[in-house]
């Protein structure tokens, strides 16, 4: 395999990992917690910027050095893995602030729009005030973690980074899986289904929604850090609202609420169909690439919501019949009256 192809492949795998972590976070909010977050990319951006300023060093001190051409409000040079931890923490803290502002007051579409607006306001702010994160030019020359310490070749480092991304994916997957299958995951789904009913059973939807929102925000922050540490630059154009819709499409196509489904969605949407237009140069002009991508994502969302709203691999039904059989020989006792329930029920 040529080295340029290997570089491309490594980049694609890092993208896949980043998208996977982000989409699992979005699924925790949207699929499991029922919070449609159209401002999701803001939390990824928060993680990316946090990683950048925690690795670039103080802006005043490095004037004239490699990164001295850019302005940002504050910076430090923390050792690995602290910048990643910082990105997770900032993603979480920002989610607490935004969550407390938006979640208790708004529901459904209004909530989604409010979150979209929050991300647009933040983007506008950073774009127009260059003293925060260097405005439209963004931050660049962001150091890669342990690049000097490892002393690998460019390609070797790329593959090592793919491995690092893989490990973070496994850890993130473990966290979302533990939450998803636990009583916490079940109560989150209950709030998603009917908030009033959950309240009537003594559950506190405010607390539960905030848990889902902050958990998703922390994963978004991590995904931003993993991305920016590899591509070493980050600007407002990297996190347009369009990016959020790529994630939303991936979750819808893969399967709302299903962590495995979301992984399928990530492979299908940003990777296979996001990259496919690249290989069809005869069909479209290169300048159309972005537009064709967006059209594909839009068609995907509409098509799936129309034909298969549960996604490629829907949320799994947790079955208890087997466990119950173990519980009771009393199944036979129930049998005399169970016919009534069975008339309509049955299994699908």
């Amino acid at each position: 395999m040529s080295s340029s192809l290997q570089f491309y492949l490594a980049l694609l795998l890092v993208y896949a990992g980043v998208d996977l972590i982000a989409c699992w976070g979005l699924n925790l909010q949207m699929g499991i917690g029922g919070i449609v977050n159209f401002g999701f990319v803001l939390f990824q951006a928060a993680g990316a910027y946090t990683y950048a300023i925690l690795t670039l060093g103080a802006p005043a001190h490095n004037a004239g050095a490699g990164a001295g051409f850019q302005t940002y409000f504050w910076g430090a040079r923390l050792p690995f893995p602290l910048p990643f931890v910082g990105a997770i923490v900032v993603g979480g803290l920002l989610s607490v602030v935004v969550g407390l502002l938006v979640l208790p007051r708004l529901r459904g579409d209004y909530q989604a729009i409010a979150l979209l607006v929050v991300s647009l306001v933040a983007s506008g702010l950073i774009l127009n005030d260059a003293s925060i994160f260097n405005g439209a030019n963004g931050l660049s020359s962001i150091p890669r973690p342990l690049e000097a310490a490892l002393g690998l070749s460019g390609l070797g480092y790329s593959w090592a980074y793919v491995g690092f991304t893989g490990v973070l994916c496994i850890l993130s997957g473990w966290v979302v899986w533990q939450i998803s299958r636990s009583p916490l995951g079940r109560v989150l789904r209950a709030v998603r289904e009917d908030e009033e009913a959950a309240k009537s059973l003594g559950k506190n939807p405010r607390r539960l929604r905030l848990i889902a929102f902050v958990g998703g925000g922390m994963l978004a922050g991590l995904s931003g850090a993993v991305l920016v540490a590899y591509i070493d630059a980050w600007a407002p154009s990297s996190w347009g609202y369009v990016e959020t819709f790529v994630f939303v499409t991936a979750v819808i196509v893969g399967g709302f609420g299903s962590n495995v489904g979301v992984a399928v969605g990530v492979v299908l949407v940003p990777i296979v169909f996001g990259e496919a237009p690249l290989f069809l140069p005869s069909l479209v002009q290169a300048s159309w690439f972005g537009a064709v991508q967006l059209i594909l994502f839009g068609l995907f969302t509409m098509g799936f919501l129309w034909v298969r709203p549960q996604g490629v691999r829907p949320e799994r039904r947790v079955k208890y019949a087997g466990r119950i059989k173990k519980l009771g020989a009393s199944v036979a006792v129930a049998g005399d009256g169970a016919g009534r329930a069975g008339e309509r029920g049955g299994t699908q």
Partner: protein
């Protein structure tokens, strides 16, 4: 106000001069009554009488404009509905509020109170931490399913159940919370007549087991069969109280129904 003699001794739930306004309209005006532990009380009255509002205020989903509500002698006025539910007062809804996308068993398990795995840390610690509590919750849910003759639909999505089964599920779910008072908002609405009998049988069983029941209901058959006492409301006020036979003879009640 004119509560039955037995209720005076030990009121479990008490409303004192409760009123509620909605944008200048007084939906409920100066309502007072008390319910003894283990009693079954029905609230009846024409549409718009304020019955559901009274029930919602007891459940904490509507805050009274005036007056106070006491549960076992303690003030619960103004508590949020989830806090009221944790005290042991659990309601069902006029339109069934099952978690449609969850199975029957999951609906029941959600209701199990204070599950260890409901905190973030608990969830991350995994099955070893919360598994035992989960198993005992499954056992309790199973006992309810047997009692309510619904073991066949344990893995069915609640959204696929019939209207009557949904009602039964709501009642079972309330039982999973260890409720001490069950507030039923028109439990027979939209339920097939055949299932009404089953629902009544189950509610009678719960009453027999000592659960305190309060129901807002239009179907007099189930009110007559279950309720020891009936409160009649019209235009936001309590206009009569007593057994169903007594209030039926009350001319004011007759007038309210005809005029209301």
């Amino acid at each position: 106000m004119a509560a039955g003699a037995g209720d005076r001794d030990d009121p479990m739930l008490e409303l004192r001069h409760v009123s509620r306004e909605f944008g200048g309209v007084r939906a409920v005006e100066d309502v007072s009554f008390s319910i003894a532990e283990g009693a079954a009380v029905g609230i009846i009255g024409p549409n718009g009488a304020g019955k559901s509002t009274v029930l919602s205020m007891m459940a904490g989903s509507v805050i009274p404009s005036e007056g106070e509500i006491l549960f076992c002698g303690e003030r619960i006025t103004g508590l949020r509905s989830d806090a009221v539910a944790r005290c042991g007062i659990v309601r069902t809804f006029q339109v069934s509020a099952e978690f449609a996308g969850l199975t029957v068993m999951q609906n029941l398990l959600v209701a199990a109170p204070r599950q260890r795995g409901e905190s973030v840390v608990g969830a991350l610690l995994g099955w070893r931490y919360w598994g035992a509590a989960e198993e005992s919750a499954i056992e309790r849910a199973y006992e309810l399913l047997v009692k309510f003759r619904m073991t066949d639909v344990v893995d069915e999505y609640a959204g696929n159940l019939s209207g009557g089964q949904r009602r039964l599920l709501e009642v079972m779910r309330a039982m999973m919370t260890n409720a001490r008072v069950l507030l039923l908002d028109e439990p027979t609405a939209g339920v097939h007549p055949k299932m009404v009998g089953e629902l009544r049988r189950q509610l009678q069983g719960l009453k027999g087991a000592g659960l305190t029941l309060l129901m807002v209901e239009h179907e007099m058959g189930i009110v007559g069969a279950l309720c020891d006492r009936v409160i009649v409301m019209a235009r936001g006020r309590v206009i009569a109280e007593g057994s169903l036979q007594e209030v039926r003879r009350n001319p004011e009640v007759m007038e309210a129904y005809v005029a209301g």
